[in-house]
Every structure is written in structure tokens, then in C-alpha cells.
């Protein structure tokens, strides 16, 4: 499926705003993403497997609350650097 990459993470993807990854859940997609772009997962998921405070995930337009959120081949995973202040 497609994965949309926010600008703070594009240093990992050589500037690409979009990439492809595989997996049946958000956790699996992120693991696959980390294989392709080592280190990228730790910037958005902490060592306790929690989504970092200022990061949000959406599958298409649906908010992701759990990394076990299912995801399909035709879906798009959006990684969002959430605005949390002015």
C-alpha cells in the first residue's frame, strides 16, 4: 500500500513524500518501512511500542488508535506530524 511521508521524515526516504510498504496491520507496515529506511520507525514509535506524542496515523481518513489497526493493499497510510501548538 501507499505510505505518505511527512517532511520531517523525508530525510530517510531520500526526499520522497510517498513510498510503498507491505503488511496487514499498521505495525507490520511500519516494520517493513523500517527495513527499507532504517531508523524511521523509532522516530514515530517509542521503545514501548507506543505512538509518539506528536505523531498521528491515518488509514485513508480513519484515525489509527492501535498499531494493530488493519490495513489493506489498496489503502494509504498517512503519517502525520501533528500540530500541537501555535
Amino acid at each position: 500500500m501507499n505510505v505518505r511521508i511527512p517532511s520531517p521524515l523525508r530525510s530517510y526516504t531520500s526526499g520522497s513524500a510517498q513510498t510503498q510498504a507491505e503488511g496487514a496491520t499498521v505495525a507490520e507496515v511500519l516494520a517493513d518501512l523500517d527495513r527499507k529506511y532504517p531508523g524511521i520507525k523509532f522516530r514515530v514509535i517509542d521503545e514501548q511500542d507506543r505512538i509518539r506524542q506528536h505523531i498521528k496515523f491515518f488509514v485513508n481518513t480513519e484515525t489509527v488508535e492501535s498499531l494493530q489497526h488493519p490495513i489493506g493493499q489498496s489503502d494509504t497510510l498517512h503519517i502525520i506530524c501533528a500540530l500541537s501548538g501555535g
Binding site: 530525510s11 522516530r43 514515530v44 509518539r52
Partner: protein, 496 residues
């Protein structure tokens, strides 16, 4: 975080043992450093330096690091400095600037390159200061007299850089703790004195325990410290929430020091403080130059802690130190050291700038003595940094801040100055020549004050307002080296 700032594609991966091998105590020694321009490199133990070697393999020429006998050497008199020797006109300029309100002074044209108000003519090796800020890192380079300074373009613009430390053991490794506003914390590392950078393959992270309902996660890599001279490639990191991490490959992979992070008293050591304004964190990690097994760290809020077995076990070292805000100020732990140091020539002479004053300890006595009581009462003895003269265990500098009422943490009465003691804290002398005489409300953070090892000694500090000030005469007179940087978190010397 940029993966790399140059075209270099080198990325190192390496596995190291989590438990460091115990080593016999090494004799005290310090590192003799090669000149900046030389091609000299560290003596590079193969296992520990493999990562660095990969990056600069073709350039590296193995070189023995000469051991220097550690013998306390007392400096009896401040060396006449560059600025002190300056002519009257130059001094007058500095004073005029200082008398003006800060806003007026800021109108002086010096956005990037600053030419000192004084001309010393005293030649020393050019010097590079590494400036870590809330919005990136900078290099501030001097000429051969330290009269003229030039600021670099930013490195990692927009990234929060807490600490940036170069290797005193003779390599060209620089390690940086950083993060961004949105992304998690990480470590960046350079093996060529900051020319190129790569991200750590495995940044500091707490261990995940299935039994823990809410496990700890590193939020900030706040403090970076090189390991012992006998352990090239070893580095330590202190984090928020309080954590200690060790790397044996020049900062590429980091492992939890479980002796501290999983210590049976850990929860109690850090429970007493709660979140300080900057968050509770481990800082001031210091390795005894005589013994790689002997180390210290400080926790804000938590206290000073000591280990004699390379971090496998720890005990509090706070006797005599007061926690004035607690019902019982004489607690065993829960104190708030802002900055802890020992003297490199006499590592049994300890100092700390604490939330509740300036303290000194002779390690053999094991009791902190409040030497800040000898500061002027109107100024007090609160601050963040404390810096030791590298050749005189009795000589330290502090940068007082206002710790009254609601704790503004700015210079008392808007009059920034350093205070120096040349007799181990018995007496203190104000140093403010060249600094604003009024209306200057900035803070100097605990990593943001340092000295070089040149003769005469240079002293430097960076402010929350983005200015770097320098003194080429041990603090007797000051000049602003650069303005308009972001909030400064640390100022360190690039070892050469």
C-alpha cells in the same frame, strides 16, 4: 533529522556486548591532543573503533595517544590576557557597550562574524566552539588570536540539539543528542570532526518489559560524555526521563546501563523530584580518569550518584547537601544538582552547582560543603553551570542566576556576571567587565559554559538569548562573540 549531510553513504552497523568487560584500574593520565589540521587519529582499538574506521578508513593513520602524567599544578596568578592587554580604547568600547541597555547593545552590527573589541596579539591555535541550540547546531571558529570569530551556517537547522561533544581521546568523533519537535530522540555522530554526520543505528532506548504496564521511553538525549581514555569508542548518554546508556562503537549503537536504569532503588531515587521545568534527567556523567570503573552522574531531581564498578551498582553521594524545599533537607537523595564536576587533575575534588547552592567535596571526606555561602548575599549562589580551571583544582567559575521568589533563573537584577574563586570557594570575585551592566535578562544553561585549554585560558558561555560571550583572560573581561542564534543549550570546545 537528515540522515547525512554530505554525499557520504557510509552507514555503520555493529553489535556490541551489553555488559562491558571489567578492566583493571588504569593509572591517571590525560590525552595529548593532535593539532586540528593534522591527520592524526586515535589509537583505535579494533573492536571498539570499527565503526569509526569504516567511515574514515583511508584517512586514518594510527597514532599512539601520548599519556600525560597527571600532576596537580597550581596556577597562582591569572594570566594576563588578550583582552586585559588590550589598549584603553578597546576597553572603553567594551565598557560603553556594556553600559548601554541590552537592546541598544544588540543594535551593534555583528550578525555572524565578530571582531573583538580588543587586539591581543597573543597567538594561540585557532579554536572551534560547538554551539548546540534549540534550533540546530553551529560552529564558532576563532582566528589564531581568538580576537576574531566567525559563525558557521547551521547544521540540522530546526532540530533540537541538547549536547554536542567531541572526543578528547584523539579521534575525530563528535556525538550529538538531538530530536525534533515531532519526532523521537536520537543521536547523531560524526567521525570527521563534524564534516559529515550519520544517525545512530540504535539510539538510546529503555528496555521493554512485558510486566511493565507503562514502560519508560526516552524523550530527550540530554547529555553526552566520552568514556575513559583506556576505552576508545566508549560513550555514555544521559536522558530524560532519567536513564543512562552506553555505546562501545563511538555512538552508533546504545545499550541500557541496567545497573542504573533497573536499579532496585531507581524508582525511589527519581520519585522525589517530579518534573522540573526542563524535566528530570541524567546529566553530568563523569568518568574518573584514574579508573574506568569509577564514575559519577547527577539526576535533576535525584542527586549525585557514584559507581565503583562501571555502572553495575550505584549509591547516592549527597551527604551535607541541602534540599531546602523538602521537609527534611538532609535526605539521602532527592537533591537537585544542576551541574556536577570533578577536577581533572584532582578527581577527588568534587564541585556542584546545585539548585540550593554551590558545593565542594573532598571525596575522602564524603561530605558536601556549601562554598556558595561565601558568595555575596545579594547575588546568592544559585545557577546552572560550574566550570573548573583545567590546571588549578582550587579555581572554579559560576554564573549566578536569580533563584528568589518564583525563580526567574535570569541574571540577578539583570546584571549578568561570572564569579570566580581561586581558593576552592573560600572567597569569590565578580567578573563583569564587558558584560551588560543592566537590563540583561538571560540564562546560561548547565552545558552552556566551558573553557578551552589554551594559554591564556579562554572562557565561554552561551545564553538563552542566543549570544555567545567569550573571555580570553579567565573571565576578567568579556566580549560578545556572536548574537542572534537560537536559544543555546550547550557550548563545548571541539577537541583537536
Amino acid at each position: 533529522m537528515a540522515r547525512k549531510t554530505t554525499a557520504s553513504k557510509t552507514k555503520t552497523k555493529k553489535t556490541v556486548d551489553k555488559e562491558p568487560a571489567k578492566k583493571k584500574a588504569a593509572p591517571a593520565k590525560t590525552t595529548k591532543k593532535p593539532p586540528l589540521a593534522s591527520k592524526a587519529k586515535s589509537k583505535a582499538k579494533p573492536a571498539a573503533k570499527a565503526a569509526a574506521k569504516k567511515v574514515v578508513a583511508k584517512k586514518v593513520v594510527a597514532k599512539k595517544v601520548a599519556a600525560k602524567k597527571v600532576t596537580p599544578k597550581k596556577v597562582t596568578k591569572p594570566v594576563k590576557s588578550a583582552t586585559t592587554k588590550a589598549n584603553g580604547k578597546a576597553k572603553s568600547k567594551a565598557n560603553t557597550k556594556a553600559k548601554a541597555p541590552a537592546k541598544t547593545a544588540a543594535k551593534k552590527p555583528s550578525p555572524a562574524t565578530t571582531k573583538a573589541a580588543s587586539k591581543s596579539g597573543v597567538k594561540v591555535k585557532p579554536l572551534t566552539l560547538m554551539i548546540a541550540t534549540r534550533k540546530g547546531a553551529f560552529y564558532l571558529r576563532s582566528d589564531a588570536t581568538r580576537d576574531s570569530w566567525k559563525i558557521s551556517k547551521p547544521e540540522f537547522l530546526g532540530h533540537i540539539v541538547y549536547h554536542m561533544v567531541s572526543d578528547p581521546r584523539g579521534s575525530k568523533v563528535v556525538v550529538m543528542g538531538s530530536k525534533t519537535g515531532h519526532l523521537g530522540p536520537t543521536v547523531m555522530r560524526s567521525t570527521d570532526n563534524g564534516a559529515t554526520w550519520t544517525e545512530a543505528t540504535r539510539p538510546p532506548a529503555f528496555t521493554k518489559h512485558e510486566w511493565e504496564e507503562k514502560g519508560r521511553a526516552v524523550e530527550n538525549v540530554f547529555w553526552i560524555a566520552p568514556g575513559h581514555e583506556s576505552e576508545p569508542g566508549v560513550w555514555y548518554a544521559g536522558t530524560s526521563p532519567p536513564g543512562l546508556f552506553r555505546s562501545e562503537d563511538d555512538g552508533d549503537t546504545w545499550h541500557s546501563v541496567t545497573g542504573f536504569n533497573e536499579h532496585h532503588m531507581y524508582g525511589q531515587w527519581i520519585a522525589s523530584g517530579g518534573a522540573t521545568p526542563g524535566g528530570q534527567m541524567v546529566h553530568s556523567i563523569r568518568i574518573d580518569p584514574r579508573d574506568p570503573n569509577h564514575m559519577y552522574l547527577a539526576i535533576s531531581v535525584g542527586g549525585v550518584f557514584e559507581s565503583h564498578d562501571k555502572g553495575h551498582d550505584w549509591h547516592p553521594l549527597n551527604k551535607g547537601c541541602q534540599s531546602e524545599w523538602l521537609p527534611d533537607p538532609d535526605v539521602e537523595y532527592g537533591h537537585d544538582p544542576h551541574c556536577f564536576i570533578f577536577h581533572p587533575l584532582n578527581p577527588d575534588r568534587l564541585y556542584q552547582q546545585n539548585h540550593c547552592g554551590i558545593y565542594k567535596m573532598e571525596r575522602s571526606e564524603g561530605v558536601w560543603e556549601r562554598i556558595g555561602d561565601n558568595m555575596p548575599k545579594a547575588v546568592g549562589d544559585i545557577g546552572f553551570p560550574i566550570v573548573a580551571h583545567p590546571e588549578d583544582p582550587d579555581c572554579v567559575w559560576v554564573f549566578p542566576m536569580d533563584g528568589t521568589t518564583v525563580w526567574p533563573r535570569t541574571s540577578p537584577e539583570g546584571k549578568p556576571c561570572t564569579y570566580i574563586s581561586r581558593n576552592g570557594g573560600k572567597t569569590w570575585k565578580k567578573q563583569s567587565k564587558g558584560l551588560p551592566e543592566s537590563d540583561a535578562y538571560f540564562t546560561v544553561k548547565r552545558q552552556a559554559m566551558t573553557c578551552d585549554h589554551r594559554k591564556p585560558l579562554g572562557l565561554y558561555f552561551g545564553t538563552s538569548g542566543g549570544e555567545v560571550w567569550g573571555s580570553a583572560d579567565e573571565g576578567e573581561s568579556w566580549q560578545c562573540l556572536v548574537r542572534y542564534l537560537p536559544e543555546i543549550y550547550s557550548v563545548t570546545v571541539l577537541e583537536d
